[in-house]
Assembly symmetry: C2
Homo-oligomer: 303 residues x 2
C-alpha cells in the first residue's frame, strides 16, 4: 500500500493560499516554484508541502518582501530568513505573552475570560489600543515565525470577536453622531479591524451601522442613502493588495455624495501614498476619535 499524499489542483490552491491562478503559473515559469506534479491531462497538482510553503510566502510578501527573494526558497531557508529579521521588534509585556500562551494551549475559555478581565480593568479605549492591537501584531508575528497555526489564530479571532461584540452592544447609542456606516469592500473578508473601529466609534458617541464584510460598491452607495449616513468607514487588512485598496477606495469616493465623509483604516491602508482628496486615512484607532470630534466641530460651524 503506497503512502497517499494530498494533492490539490490549481483552483483549490488559489482558494487556500489567496494567490491567483495566473500568479501561480507565472511563478512556476519565472522562479521554478511551485513545481506541481501533473495528472494524466497535464493539469497541475500541488503537493500539500508546496501549498504550506506558498502560505508562508504569501505572508512574507504581505509584510513587504519581494517575490524574487522568497519564492524560490526552501522551508529551512524561509525560516532562516524569518528569524534573522529582528528589526523594530517592540517589547511585549508579560501579560500579552501570557495571552499567547493561552492561544498555544488552546484554552479558548480561559482566553476569553482573560480578555474580558483586561477589558474591565483597562476600559474599552485602553483595552483596544494597549491589549488587542499589540496582541494582533504579536499573534501575526508568531504566525509568521511558525510558532502558532492558522487554526489557533482563528480561535483567537473568535474570542476577540465575541468579547468585542458583547461590549459594543452595551455602549450603542441610537441617537449618536455622526451616523457611521461600516463595511469592507469585496475581497476583504477580515472583520476584526471593522469591529475594533465600531468599538472605538461607539465609544466616541457615534452611531454605528455595521454591514459586515464584502459589500459591493453599488450597494454601499445605496446603504449610505438609505441610512442617511454621514460617514462611511472602510477597513483593510494587510492581506489586501495595495493596488486593490487604491482602486476600490477611489471608485467608492467617486460614487458617493461629497457631503459624505470617507474614512479608511487598517494595516492595508498604511502603504497608501498620494491619497486623493475626500479620503481620510486613519492611522491608529485613536485617529477615529479625533475624526469624530473634528466632524462634529465642522458640522456645528457650518450648520
Amino acid at each position: 500500500m503506497s503512502e497517499e499524499i494530498s494533492l490539490f489542483n490549481i483552483g483549490v490552491v488559489e482558494r487556500e493560499t489567496g494567490i491567483g491562478k495566473d500568479t501561480l503559473r507565472v511563478w512556476e515559469k519565472r522562479y521554478g516554484f511551485p513545481l506541481p506534479v501533473r495528472d494524466q491531462h497535464e493539469d497541475r497538482l500541488y503537493p500539500a508541502e508546496q501549498v504550506d510553503r506558498l502560505r508562508l510566502i504569501r505572508r512574507l510578501l504581505d509584510i513587504g518582501m519581494r517575490p524574487a527573494k522568497v519564492v524560490g526558497l526552501s522551508y529551512p531557508e524561509l525560516n532562516a530568513l524569518l528569524t534573522q529579521t529582528p528589526g523594530d521588534e517592540p517589547v511585549y509585556s508579560a501579560e500579552l505573552l501570557e495571552f499567547v500562551e493561552l492561544i498555544k494551549a488552546h484554552q479558548a475559555g480561559e482566553l476569553k475570560l482573560a480578555l474580558n478581565l483586561a477589558l474591565l480593568r483597562q476600559g474599552m479605549g485602553d483595552f483596544l489600543s494597549k491589549t488587542i492591537h499589540p496582541l494582533n501584531l504579536l499573534v501575526g508575528d508568531a504566525w509568521l515565525r511558525g510558532e502558532i497555526h492558522v487554526f489557533e489564530e482563528h480561535l483567537y479571532s473568535e474570542q476577540i470577536i465575541s468579547v468585542l461584540r458583547t461590549a459594543i452592544t452595551t455602549i450603542r447609542n441610537p441617537r449618536g453622531t455622526p451616523r457611521v456606516l461600516l463595511t469592507t469592500l469585496p475581497g476583504e473578508e477580515h472583520s476584526l479591524g471593522l469591529l475594533m473601529a465600531e468599538a472605538t466609534l461607539s465609544l466616541s458617541g457615534a452611531y454605528c451601522m455595521m454591514l459586515g464584510v464584502q459589500t459591493p460598491i453599488s450597494e454601499i452607495v445605496l446603504a449610505v442613502q438609505a441610512h442617511q449616513a454621514d460617514v462611511l468607514t472602510l477597513s483593510f487588512s494587510s492581506a489586501m493588495p495595495a493596488a486593490q485598496v487604491k482602486s476600490g477606495v477611489e471608485q467608492v469616493r467617486k460614487a458617493l455624495p461629497e457631503t459624505v465623509s470617507l474614512w479608511i483604516g487598517g494595516a492595508g491602508v498604511q502603504k497608501q501614498r498620494n491619497v486623493e482628496p475626500g479620503i481620510q486615512v486613519m492611522g491608529p484607532l485613536s485617529d477615529l476619535t479625533g475624526a469624530v470630534l473634528a466632524w462634529r466641530a465642522a458640522v456645528s460651524s457650518n450648520g
Copy 2:
C-alpha cells in the same frame, strides 16, 4: 462634459459577483453576455449595469437554473422569469413578514429587539427552526425578487449574528459531549449557518469550538488533533458550487482519523448525492440534535 459611467475590469467583477474570470470570458463567447467594452489594450471593462445583471444571474444559477436559460437575458426578462416562479412557496406567517418590513425600513435596532423577543418567547430551539430558518429563506427569496438589497441582507445578517452570539455565550458548556469543532472550508465565507449549528449543538449539550470561516484543510486536521475533537462540522451555503463541496469534503474525510465523525450541513449540501461513507449529511437543524444523541449512544455501547 460627458456622463461618467462606472467601469470595472475583470478582476473586480470576479470579486464583486463571485463568477470566475474564465467563466466570464467563456460566457461572453458562448452566450454573448456579458459584453464588456474594451480599453486601449483590449482589456475588458464591464459597465455597472452588466455587473448588476451578473449578480442576479449568479443567484438564479444558485437556485438551480441553467446558464443557457438565463445568461443572455435582459433585466426585464430576468424579472419576468423571477415573478413567474411561484412553485412551492410556503405560506409565511404575519410575524415573519413583519421582520421583513423592519429590514426594508432599515430599523436595525428594532429588528434586533424583535428578534430577541422572539427568542425569549419561543426558546432557542423553536426560534432557530421556526423563525430564523424560514426568515433566512424569506429574505433570500425577497432578495431574488429584487425586493430587498444586498446591503439590507447584510444588515439583517448582522442582527441575527449579534442575537445568536449573545445567546450561545449563555448556554456554553465546557464539559459537554461530544466535542465539536465548527468551521467552513476555504471559499465558503458565510458564517450564519455555522452559528446556527453552534447554537443547536450547544443546546443539545455538546461542547462547541468555533473556528470561524475558511480554515485550510491541513489546519482543520491539526485543530481536530489539538482540541481532541470527536466531531467536525462543516457548513456550506447555497452559493457554494456542488463540485467544490464534494471534493472539499472528501479531501477532509481522507485526511481525518476514522474515529472523528464528519457532519456536513447547510443549503449547499442538499444537492449532494452519493455521499461517501464516513460523511453524515444533515438536513434540517434538528438533525444535529439527533446526531448528538446517536453519537452518545454509540459511544456508551462501544466504550
